[in-house]
């Protein structure tokens, strides 16, 4: 593994008496794709939210690029270089594609010291980004509410590819995508990783995990139940880790 980008040390999260995370430790290297697997309710989404700044952990610590890191808000995580694609899409359907793409990062020019949206510049950037990803959307000025689920997810994916950053978290990014778009999405992930960006992808689909990930981390009941290189394990072994037939921390099953 290359130099670690993000290290989690014994991160926990309690909701009252319920322990959603009972101590998660793992790390992600630069340019590495980690697939995060686990059954429903294992704590995957909670973990993503903690890294992305939506939730604060109850205890434990995180190191980002070797420094102590805790994002109180998504804005802080973003400033540090962490991009997130959430399971429930984060689009404002009442505005157009361009506005969504640039949400919170609008290109402006100053007129009399007042920032004015530079629509033309933004539209050009979005057009280029979508075209290079092979996403076809009839008009970038249509409000997102009029687009299909697949188109919406494509916007989200293109958005993270464009903004990049240092670490990308994907919470079931392909749920609404078709076969061809999923293939393209997986390619995108590889591309992003090749630029030296760390990628964490949560998925339910074993095949996707094995297609794209360098390493597979399995979470069960709030702890890491397995952390193995992809080429040293098999789907069956991983399923055993998810369901709990293998002991926590067990190595490759062959």
């Amino acid at each position: 593994m290359t130099e670690p980008l993000l290290v989690l040390e014994n991160v926990t999260k309690n909701y009252g008496a319920i322990q959603a995370l009972r101590g998660i430790s793992f790390s992600i290297g630069k340019g590495e794709v980690v697939a995060l697997l686990g059954d429903n309710g294992a704590g995957k989404s909670t973990l993503v939210k903690i890294i992305a700044g939506g939730l604060e952990p109850s205890s434990g610590r995180m190191l980002f690029e070797g420094k102590e890191f805790l994002a109180k808000t998504p804005a802080e995580a973003k400033a540090a270089g962490i991009e997130t694609v959430y399971q429930d899409l984060s689009l404002c359907t009442n505005v157009d594609v361009v506005a969504n793409f640039f949400m919170g990062r609008e290109i402006t020019r100053k007129v009399l010291g007042i920032p004015i949206l530079d629509e033309r510049a933004m539209e050009a950037v979005v057009g280029k980004a979508l075209a290079s990803a092979g996403t076809r959307i009839p008009s970038l000025r249509t409000n997102v509410e009029h687009l299909s689920g697949g188109q919406r997810q494509a916007i989200e994916l293109n958005r993270f590819v464009h903004w990049g950053g240092k670490l990308v978290l994907l919470d079931e990014p392909f749920a609404a995508l078709g076969v061809e778009q999923t293939r393209r999405g997986l390619e995108m992930i590889r591309q992003v990783a090749n630029q030296g960006i760390g990628v964490v992808i949560i998925t339910h689909i074993m095949q996707q995990a094995f297609q794209v990930a360098d390493r597979i981390v399995v979470i069960r009941q709030g702890v890491v139940a397995g952390d193995v290189a992809r080429n040293k394990t098999s789907p069956d072994a991983v399923i055993n880790m998810i369901t709990g037939e293998t002991l926590a921390g067990a190595g490759p099953a062959g």
Binding site: A75, S90, V95, A99, G104, R105, T142
Partner: protein, 331 residues
């Protein structure tokens, strides 16, 4: 449908309320005697200045997905503050400043500050306590009006200082300056909403607050600013109201809130947030005002206005639903 006619149709849908306004004006001009006069049209614009300004603030907050019921009471409090400070009879203190014109910025600042403070309080409570803006501002609607009664003792202030009154008397191209103030408010706020990141962010917060938070937009800060703006703009409306009536009474502006709501809804702003433009709201305000004028000219009892406004709001909501279906078919 070819792109051209599609674009034309979208343009009509986006500006439907303006077309309605033109349609109503034409109908009234034909059927209501003496309606078609420049003086009448000027009067329509003039009569809508206070309501117009108040509707801007309300629209901003509603577009951001919240609600401000306190605008009417805030306007009354600002008007009463200006009245008490600068009126010479009734409960007015009749403060004189020299030079005379200094009273204009001072009274304006007082009105804006009163509104801004109430707005800041509303915004703070909504954002920090995460309580429904409806309840918080309903409370403000009540206690601010109560405060007006307390500071006035139920009495009124008359004879506003002439240098402030000047704005209602001095005319520019047939319209008093107060009307121009309202128009420039609409122009400025429309530009802010359409062209600046702040306006864009308010719109997106109204659409999906979670998404904007995740995207790193400072949602709370933007919302507090929106509430402060709504309060300050209501304060400005109160200043205009004091000028218009040359003073202030304890029940000044009662009922304006519902007209403002009507204007905002007719103007195409969705109460669910995230939808609507300010030029549309201005058209809504003008539409209400032209109907009022027609009712006056026809000599109908003024009580009819309320019935018609109510029906108009219903029509606006139905129209909005209809627009949605057309748009969905377009996409």
């Amino acid at each position: 449908m070819n792109p051209r006619s599609r674009k034309a149709l979208e343009f009509v849908l986006d500006n439907l309320v303006w077309f309605m306004l033109v349609f109503v004006l034409i109908v009234f001009s034909i059927f209501v005697p003496n309606y078609f006069q420049l003086g009448i049209f000027a009067n329509i614009i003039e009569a809508s200045s206070v309501l117009g300004v108040m509707s801007i603030g309300l629209a901003l907050v509603i577009i951001a997905g919240h609600m401000d019921l306190s605008v009417e009471s805030v306007a009354a409090l600002s008007a009463m503050t200006v009245g008490i400070l600068f009126c010479s009879s009734g409960i007015g203190l009749g403060i004189q400043l020299s030079p005379q014109w200094l009273m204009v910025p001072v009274s304006l600042l007082a009105a804006l500050a009163v509104g801004g403070i109430v707005g800041a309080l509303n915004g703070f409570l909504v954002v920090k306590l995460k309580m429904s803006a409806f309840i918080i501002t309903l409370a403000s609607y009540i206690w601010v009006r109560g405060l007006v009664l307390v500071i006035s003792g139920g009495r009124s202030a008359q004879d506003l200082a002439p240098s402030i009154r000047w704005f209602a008397i001095q005319r520019l191209i047939g319209l008093p300056l107060t009307a121009w103030i309202a128009i420039s408010c609409f122009v400025i706020s429309s530009l802010v909403m359409a062209k600046t990141p702040f306006g864009r962010h308010l719109m997106m917060i109204g659409g999906n607050e979670t998404a904007t938070f995740r995207a790193g937009i400072r949602v709370n800060r933007n919302l507090v600013i929106a509430f402060v703006l709504a309060g300050a703009i209501a304060g400005l409306a109160g200043w205009l109201l004091a000028i218009r009536t040359s003073g202030a009474t304890a029940n000044l502006g009662t009922g304006l809130l519902f007209n403002a709501f009507a204007a905002v809804v007719i103007g195409g702003v969705s109460l669910k947030g995230g939808v609507g433009t300010l030029p549309g709201v201005y058209a809504g305000v003008l539409l209400l005002s032209s109907i009022n004028t027609a009712i006056n000219l026809m000599g109908l009892p003024a009580n009819f206005t309320q019935v018609i406004h109510g029906l108009l709001v219903l029509a606006a909501v139905l129209l909005d639903a209809f627009k949605q279906t057309i748009r969905q078919r377009l996409a």
